[in-house]
């Protein structure tokens, strides 16, 4: 295994994480900032990075900024929003060619860094407000972005499950915020939020590529300085245990029903049982040899996909499958049976070993890409832990059947959401 080394330094107001590797033809720079998810801020917070990446003081229009990126050998700049547990995470990503593969020896890493600093610290602002036109355009796009979730039925049903399941918890908020809240955002109050975010967020900078730590550190300390802060912790609210399984059916004019089932695993990243939970999920529905895939798809021919996945920082497990609406009872029945089998330890040593091998493979593959590696490393920031990749793999490999059964018995069925076609039963 080629485990990359992460070098962490405390900078002014943020942490710098550098991974030196000669694997790639490009260098990847990712700026991350996280804050607890709140209903009041989520929409504004989702709009903010979109406005910031549209232009800057130095490149005040989008074509100017984008032409500059093209000139830097098509450097990519984009933003991404994610929910990690009860946190809302903003990422700015820049990927830029390593000039050693070009005939032109322009110092591209430095240019990439300068651009990131420009986007983060010198936005297109006049007085105490973002550029009005930019904000208006991005508000329009934001609304479309929120609305577009409806049109992708797989994403839609997944979001609806979480809304129903986590009602009253911050996690039920959508990553892009709420359409109704967009109108109230002004260039002034967005700028105010920008200042607040850069004062209070927990911020991390990742640089992965054929770089030298000291060079990166020098660039970062020259270009990016913020005040010191103590990051805010998300307050995890007491989850209301449901007395009964919450069952929701929604009708739409679609051909294939979408079945989404949510479980509470009661285990989150950073806890010792988390590694066992990963193995559990793998045997249950994580892979093409899993119980869900074999029994729902291969044996019963009910679906093209049937899988489960974990929300590591929130302690949820979600099952999803696309089925004919008339097969609802049958599919739910088969999924329940698989969970019961897991709880009873009804799986073979071969299934166990196979799953461990595939998980190990998956982790090693993930860290082969710069973005995958950053994603894996960032788990430690979110969970305030320092789990090394090697530990991750060795702990997962140690999981025994007894431990998996124990984990299985902590898992509770919470909500079933079914998006059904109008002609159900026909």
């Amino acid at each position: 295994m080629t485990a990359p080394e992460e070098k962490i330094s405390e900078m002014q107001g943020y942490k710098l994480h550098v991974v030196e590797t000669a694997k790639y033809k490009t260098n990847t720079i990712v700026w991350r900032m996280k804050s607890p998810l709140t209903k009041d801020d989520v929409t504004k917070r989702a709009l903010l990075p979109q406005v910031m990446q549209a232009n800057s003081a130095k490149h005040p229009t989008t074509p100017e900024l984008r032409s500059y990126l093209d000139d830097l050998y098509g450097a990519t700049l984009y933003v991404d929003l994610a929910k990690k547990g009860e946190y809302h995470v903003i990422s700015f990503l820049i990927e830029i060619a390593n000039e050693k593969f070009l005939s032109d020896h322009n110092p591209l890493l430095k240019k990439g860094f300068e651009l990131l600093a420009e986007i983060l610290t010198k936005p297109n602002v006049s007085g105490h407000a973002f550029d009005k036109d930019t904000v208006e355009k991005e508000k329009r796009t934001q609304k479309q972005r929120i609305q577009s979730v409806f049109d992708d039925k797989m994403r839609y049903s997944n979001i609806r499950l979480i809304e129903e399941m986590c009602k009253g918890e911050p996690y039920s908020l959508q990553v892009n915020g709420e359409a109704e809240a967009v109108d109230a955002i002004t260039p002034e109050n967005l700028y105010e939020y920008y200042q607040k975010a850069f004062q209070e967020d927990e911020m991390d900078l990742y640089v992965v590529g054929d770089v030298k730590e000291e060079d990166v550190k020098k660039l970062a300390s020259e270009l990016l300085q913020f005040n010191h802060r103590t990051p805010k912790k998300a307050v995890s609210e007491e989850i209301q245990k449901k007395q009964e399984v919450h069952e929701v059916k929604e009708e739409q004019e679609i051909k294939q029903g979408k079945l989404n089932i949510g479980y509470r695993t009661n285990i989150v990243y950073g806890e010792p049982e988390y590694f066992t939970l990963q193995v559990f999920n793998g045997i249950f529905g994580g892979f093409s040899h899993s119980k869900l895939f074999i029994n729902v798809r291969e044996k019963a021919s009910l679906a093209y996909y049937a899988a489960s996945r974990l929300e590591s920082h929130k302690g949820l497990m979600m099952v999803m499958s696309g089925i004919e609406s008339k097969n609802y009872e049958k599919a739910v029945g088969i999924i329940y049976e698989q969970m019961e089998a897991m709880k009873k330890g009804d799986f073979t040593d071969q299934e166990l070993e196979q799953t461990k091998a595939v998980i190990q493979n998956q982790i090693l593959e993930t860290i082969d890409t710069a973005k995958g590696l950053i994603e894996v490393l960032y788990h430690n920031v979110v969970a305030c832990t320092e789990i090394q990749l090697e530990t991750w793999i060795s702990e997962m490999q140690k999981a025994t059947k007894e431990e998996i059964v124990k984990v299985a018995n902590k898992i509770e069925l919470d909500t079933i959401y079914f998006l059904t076609g109008m002609e159900a039963g026909k």
């Binding site: 080629t2 490009t26 093209d70 593969f101 070009l102 049109d151 071969q350 593959e365």
Partner: protein
């Protein structure tokens, strides 16, 4: 074994053509954990009329059979090959496109074992009536899933508008009706015709030892008895140059409308360098017109006609090709007419400057470096290029040679209204 160096990129590629005709390529990637291998046949959804092996007459097979065959090849008498891969810590997959069917695995250990499994399972078909019937349920759900997907419907709707007769207009998975006609005998007929090693390419990329891997493959193939194969006869219908339909509007259960404009390509019978240059010139042209730094994109965005889903893309294979531009929009008709205007304006001799072209080329060079970080991209694209007699590693030098005149002359030939077509998805009333 032949070794090809790409000095600027610091990559080495190994190649050998085996006696049975199989082309093998190996690209060592130091520092990576993952090895990725694809075993691909030059056989896709468009190959629906051909002369089967050892026969004289053309046959036409049911729609969706290449894709169906891809699913079924994983199943053996003693179970499913997926299981074997995962026991060996690998993940396996496959895909069918218009012109290719690829089988692949990726793994971070036991590469030799997984490679043996890959080659052997693809070269050992087992189809039975019973498992063919069972698969119809699963693929039926796959087809239904795509039926509900507005982007897929839009994409295929547009191809159907552009093409009158060519089988590229047929959905790769077929329909629930068409796959009902598939039998194990049909599957064997297709398999025997298209899965001969001389019609296939094996690509391995990862932290591997090329000599050792090549020896393993030679030994594996030497054990199998393949007779020389005559060239495969495929037949494609006559196809007019202009688009078949001007416009199609699909009503679906969506909240946001979508609009794509398509252009039916020219020069679709090229191969090799000529094709590579044409394809790259077309890509540059689309970038100049619609890239995020272009004035057109900025105006469309300012006018609220496009959002971040806006994209453009060019596909060219032997016998067909199309460009597509569009995305989600609040006003699909207005967007369609603006896109048409912009495309026609590209015919103007002064449409682009040298500066813009330089920038577009730089952008593509950077994108190429980014892409070759990815083993998946290298294997899949290299295979596609090779099937069209092009070389993936010629992309940068070919790009550098493109002149403003090349771009203008392509725009001049291509941008004719009769080649355009529009497909829209709108909310159901």
């Amino acid at each position: 074994m032949e070794k090809i160096n790409f000095d600027q990129l610091q990559e080495e590629l190994y190649h050998e053509k085996l006696p049975n005709g199989l082309q093998v390529y190996i690209l060592p990637k130091k520092g990576f954990n993952k090895t990725y291998a694809t075993f691909t046949t030059k056989y896709g959804s468009v190959d629906n009329t051909f002369v089967p092996l050892a026969k004289d007459e053309y046959v036409k097979v049911p729609d969706g059979i290449a894709h169906f065959l891809e699913h079924k090849l994983f199943e053996k008498e003693d179970g499913d090959v997926f299981q074997q891969f995962s026991r060996q810590g690998a993940s396996a997959n496959a895909f069918t496109s218009f012109t290719r069917t690829a089988y692949l695995f990726s793994s971070t250990n036991d590469v030799e074992k997984n490679l043996e499994t890959l080659i052997d399972f693809v070269q050992d078909p087992y189809f039975s009536e019973k498992t063919v019937e069972k698969e119809k349920g699963i693929i039926g759900q796959e087809i239904t899933m795509y039926d509900d997907n507005p982007d897929w419907r839009l994409y295929f709707g547009l191809i159907q508008n552009l093409y009158q007769n060519h089988p590229v207009k047929i959905d790769i998975a077929g329909t629930i009706e068409s796959i009902s006609h598939i039998t194990k005998d049909w599957l064997y007929e297709c398999y025997n015709t298209f899965y001969h090693p001389s019609n296939m390419l094996l690509f391995i990329v990862g932290p591997v030892e090329p000599e050792q891997i090549m020896k393993q493959i030679r030994d594996n193939q030497a054990k199998k008895d393949y007779k020389d194969m005559p060239e495969i006869k495929r037949k494609f219908p006559e196809e007019p140059e202009q688009a078949a339909e001007k416009k199609q509007v699909l009503q679906m259960n969506v909240q946001t409308s979508k609009c794509l404009l398509g252009i039916k390509a020219i020069h679709i019978n090229q191969t090799g360098e000529e094709m590579l240059k044409n394809e790259l010139t077309m890509n540059v042209l689309l970038d100049l017109l619609f890239g995020r730094s272009s004035k057109h994109y900025d105006q469309l965005y300012n006018d609220g006609l496009v959002d971040e889903t806006f994209s453009y893309d060019y596909t060219q294979e032997q016998g067909f090709g199309f460009a597509m531009v569009g995305g989600d929009t609040n006003d699909p008709d207005q967007l369609a007419s603006r896109l048409e205007e912009i495309l026609l304006s590209a015919k103007n001799e002064n449409a682009f400057t040298e500066d813009q072209l330089d920038r577009a080329k730089k952008k593509k060079i950077g994108a190429f470096l980014r892409a070759i970080n990815s083993p998946e991209y290298i294997a899949n694209q290299f295979t596609r290029y090779a099937f069209n007699e092009m070389n993936l590693f010629d992309v940068v030098p070919t790009l550098e040679k493109i002149t403003l005149k090349d771009v203008q002359s392509l725009a001049g030939e291509l941008m004719e209204k009769e080649r355009f077509s529009v497909c829209q998805v709108v909310p159901k009333k």
